[in-house]
């Protein structure tokens, strides 16, 4: 109706949990671009980096209160309010990838459980949408190659969230350091190793200056996605078509983000290898097995909470059926890769 078209554009103030220079700011921009175009300019965004209004870990509170209208974040940043938050992306790995678990969110009951957690259990005044299944996060940066559980025993390692519990169970001493202090701390021996997130974020962060062994693949944070938070009052006041645009643009941006990540993560990994003399490894079978054993010890403590037990049951049920299909069905991609690019993979 013309009455609607005549309205001034709605401006949504979105703050992320990322520094201004991080590649994830570009991911947030892809989302905004889609919303603004699809809405014909009826929605405008003001995108702010972490700290512009509130700190990176404060965005949930801020969206809930309406200090900001929206946030681009990950749920593990607010798992101090409810440990169940960590199950939406950084929980135990039963065999599903981030894509599998994002599918669980949309199709396997995750969305309802998330709604129950945020609306009923926590009484939050917001909506959350999930998008961009992140590639598994590397085990991280080490001064020397590590292959056995003995190699990592007693190492001082920096990580966050449930991964901290996991690494502690594996015999590492976990240190918590603010982001900006990681590289100097590493250089001076306050920590021996750390993980951050992905080759692009890690290279911008200067990881290659303090360690030369980059160990990929790990079970500690293997199925994370972005969380898009919207203040409920702001969202409810919008006409239905704009609400739909905000929600479905998350799905659209998910594909765009994946493409951008594939491009940048891989070229930055090559840059790390070729220009910075970084040796890239895969986490050894032994360490991966130890990670699973450590998860085994953590799962019962999580399941002590009835809600978390239901989430984990739902995830296991989904993974058991879906991943059976995925693994049985997917062709051996490594074989094909080896055929056309022989000798490159050292699995």
């Amino acid at each position: 109706a013309p009455a609607v078209l005549a309205q001034a554009p709605v401006t949504i103030k979105m703050q992320t949990s990322w520094p201004a220079s991080d590649i994830w700011m570009d991911f947030a921009r892809q989302y905004i671009e889609r919303v603004e175009k699809m809405s014909g300019g009826r929605i405008k965004f003001e995108l702010l980096p972490a700290g512009a209004v509130v700190g990176a870990f404060q965005v949930l509170d801020a969206v809930n209160d309406g200090v900001i209208d929206a946030a681009h974040t990950v749920p593990v940043y607010w798992y101090g309010k409810h440990k169940a938050a960590s199950l939406f992306g950084t929980g135990p790995v039963f065999g599903g990838s981030a894509t599998t678990m994002l599918a669980w969110f949309h199709q396997g009951g995750g969305k309802d459980l998330y709604r129950e957690l945020t609306q009923e259990i926590m009484g939050l005044n917001l909506y959350g949408f999930y998008g961009f299944p992140m590639p598994a996060q590397p085990f991280g940066w080490f001064k020397n190659p590590v292959g056995t559980v003995g190699d990592i025993n007693g190492l001082k390692y920096r990580t966050v969230g449930l991964a901290a519990d996991l690494m502690q169970h594996m015999g590492m001493s976990v240190a918590q350091l603010p982001g900006g202090e990681i590289v100097p701390a590493m250089e001076r021996g306050v920590i021996d190793a750390f993980e951050f997130n992905n080759p692009s974020s890690d290279i911008r962060f200067g990881s290659q200056d303090v360690a030369k062994n980059y160990i990929l693949s790990s079970y500690h944070q293997a199925s994370e996605s972005f969380e898009f938070l919207f203040n409920k009052d702001v969202f409810d006041d919008l006409p239905e078509d704009l609400q739909a645009i905000l929600e479905y643009s998350v799905e659209a941006a998910s594909t765009a983000n994946t493409a951008l990540a594939m491009d940048h993560y891989s070229s930055d990994l090559a840059k790390l290898q070729n220009d910075h003399g970084v040796t890239v490894h895969r986490t050894s079978e032994e360490i991966l097995a130890a990670q699973l054993e450590a998860w085994d010890k953590i799962i019962p403590t999580l399941e002590a909470d009835p809600f978390m037990k239901r989430v984990l049951d739902s995830q296991r049920e989904w993974v058991e059926r879906v991943v059976f299909y995925e693994l049985m069905n997917s062709a051996d991609l490594a074989l094909a890769y080896e055929h056309y690019f022989p000798g490159k993979l050292k699995l």
Binding site: Q58, G66, V67, G189, V190, D233
Partner: protein
């Protein structure tokens, strides 16, 4: 009038309000919340609950309640608490009470007179030996405590009578104490640098590494000045006779150094070394320093229950003084930026078409002038955030800028009318030492501070070399 103009008005009101003499922390808080109420005023949000209550046919009481509640349904209140929480869990500011505690313990640990006497004897053959001893004592002591008032008054009671008795010139004697006592805000572990780091987002460890050489340079320039004046005008600082000083063997002097100079120097080096070489974060090093201070006081049998209590309580009061400023300024600054005040100032300054050097000089002159009526805490917490976003435009490194500010703010203690160092010293001097003498005695040091800034500008390596060598470029 646009929002940005209102923001500039907010800043002007702040400056006026500061001069009314009301505690600055609460002035900032009030203006932040007050202007924030305007900035975040949202009529739809305000009456949403009330409208719903009316639509749903709620009773009169509920309607009234939601109507009143509407006035408080403004995001500024949530922002205010969020910002306050960010301040109270700020891991950079955590070092402040610990370093203050270390300082209060050390200043009560009875080490300063021993240190001064020892250094005086050790330097007795130098021209102006007492002034040199006072300067070195001040530098070391200021470094360990960082509390300017205590250093100046202590030295005023200790070194000033000694110098006056030895017929030192009044201006010469008072100047060196005021200037030396102020070095503590520059030489790490300085509280000023922590506050600057927390305000600007620069790593504290880099600030410390960057401030070390400029701090020593400034102390060195003071030293050169003190000695050369004593050489050129021997009547300013008559040489002591053997009877004045007494006769000491090298062994005696060495023992005195070991029991006075060495422990304090060791404490300072341990704290700085731990930070610079990354064995500990600044907060951790501060805790170790406080523990070291306690042990040192214990060793000098100066750690009484009374003094421990004094140190603990004063730590709480001074920490509250500094950190409540942050509680006020955090909300003030975000409302100021939200209204677009920052942008307006940036546009205005960048529109002036200044060269980076001109901008740098202008900024330092503004800070210098602010240092006359104000103290460093207010200047850093309120005005640095306004300069900070302008630095990238002029290609000025915020680290370099910060060290220049720390050097510059030495003058805030030395420049009338609010020359705190002079007041402290006047308060404990004999009546014939006039305030104007003290002011005149301090003037050459203000010139040396400016000289030091020029040297740093010409040779920026003095600032950058150490942080780059230790932490990489």
């Amino acid at each position: 009038m646009t929002d940005a103009h209102i923001a500039v008005g907010m800043l002007l009101i702040l400056i006026l309000a500061i001069f009314l003499g009301f505690p600055v922390a609460f002035t900032l808080m009030a203006l932040g919340v007050g202007f924030g109420y305007y900035a975040y005023y949202d009529i739809g949000r305000m009456w949403r609950a009330y409208n719903r209550a009316v639509e749903s046919g709620a009773d009169t009481y509920t309607q009234l309640e939601s109507w009143i509640g509407g006035f408080f349904n403004n995001r500024i209140f949530d922002l205010f608490v969020n910002q306050t929480y960010s301040v109270i869990q700020n891991d950079v500011l955590t070092a402040i009470p610990l370093f203050l505690f270390m300082g209060y313990i050390v200043e009560r640990s009875n080490i300063v007179d021993r240190l001064f006497s020892t250094l005086y004897i050790a330097t007795r053959r130098l021209p102006g030996s007492m002034a040199v001893a006072a300067l070195v004592t001040c530098t070391l002591f200021a470094t360990a405590t960082g509390i300017v008032g205590a250093v100046v008054t202590l030295m005023g009671l200790l070194a000033l009578p000694a110098m006056l008795k030895a017929k030192y010139d009044v201006r010469y004697a008072t100047g060196v104490i005021c200037a030396g006592g102020t070095l503590g805000i520059l030489i790490p572990p300085s509280i000023l640098l922590i506050v600057y780091a927390a305000t600007s987002g620069i790593s504290v460890v880099r600030m410390y590494a960057a401030a070390l050489l400029p701090g020593l340079l400034l102390a060195g320039l003071y030293f050169v000045y003190v000695v050369s004046r004593a050489v050129l005008q021997p009547r300013l600082a008559p040489r002591p006779t053997k009877e004045d000083v007494g006769d000491y063997s090298t062994l005696q002097i060495t023992w005195m150094m070991i029991t006075s100079f060495v422990p304090l120097a060791f404490l300072i080096l341990a704290v700085l070394g731990a930070i610079l070489f990354g064995f500990a974060t600044p907060s951790e090093a501060a805790a170790i320093g406080a523990l070291g201070g306690l042990l040192l006081a214990l060793a000098y049998r100066a750690l009484t229950w009374q003094r421990l209590k004094e140190s603990v309580y004063l730590t709480a009061r001074t920490s509250a003084m500094v950190c409540w400023l942050f509680v006020g300024s955090a909300t003030f600054a975000s409302v100021f930026a939200y209204l677009g005040g920052q942008q307006l100032i940036s546009d205005f300054v960048t529109g002036l078409d200044m060269s980076p050097l001109m901008f740098l000089i202008m900024a330092q002159i503004i800070i210098f002038i602010l240092g006359w009526p104000l103290e460093w805490t207010e200047i850093i917490v309120i005005f640095i955030p306004i300069f900070m976003p302008l630095l990238p435009h002029f290609g000025i490194d915020p680290l370099f800028f910060g060290i220049l500010v720390a050097v510059n703010l030495q003058t805030a203690f030395l420049s009338p009318p609010m020359a705190m160092s002079a007041y402290y010293l006047k308060g404990i001097s004999p009546p014939y030492v006039k305030l104007t003498d003290i002011f005149l005695g301090m003037m050459p040091y203000m010139a040396i501070v400016i000289l030091c800034m020029v040297i740093m500008y010409v040779f920026p390596g003095i600032v950058f070399w150490l942080p780059n060598a230790v932490y990489g470029g």
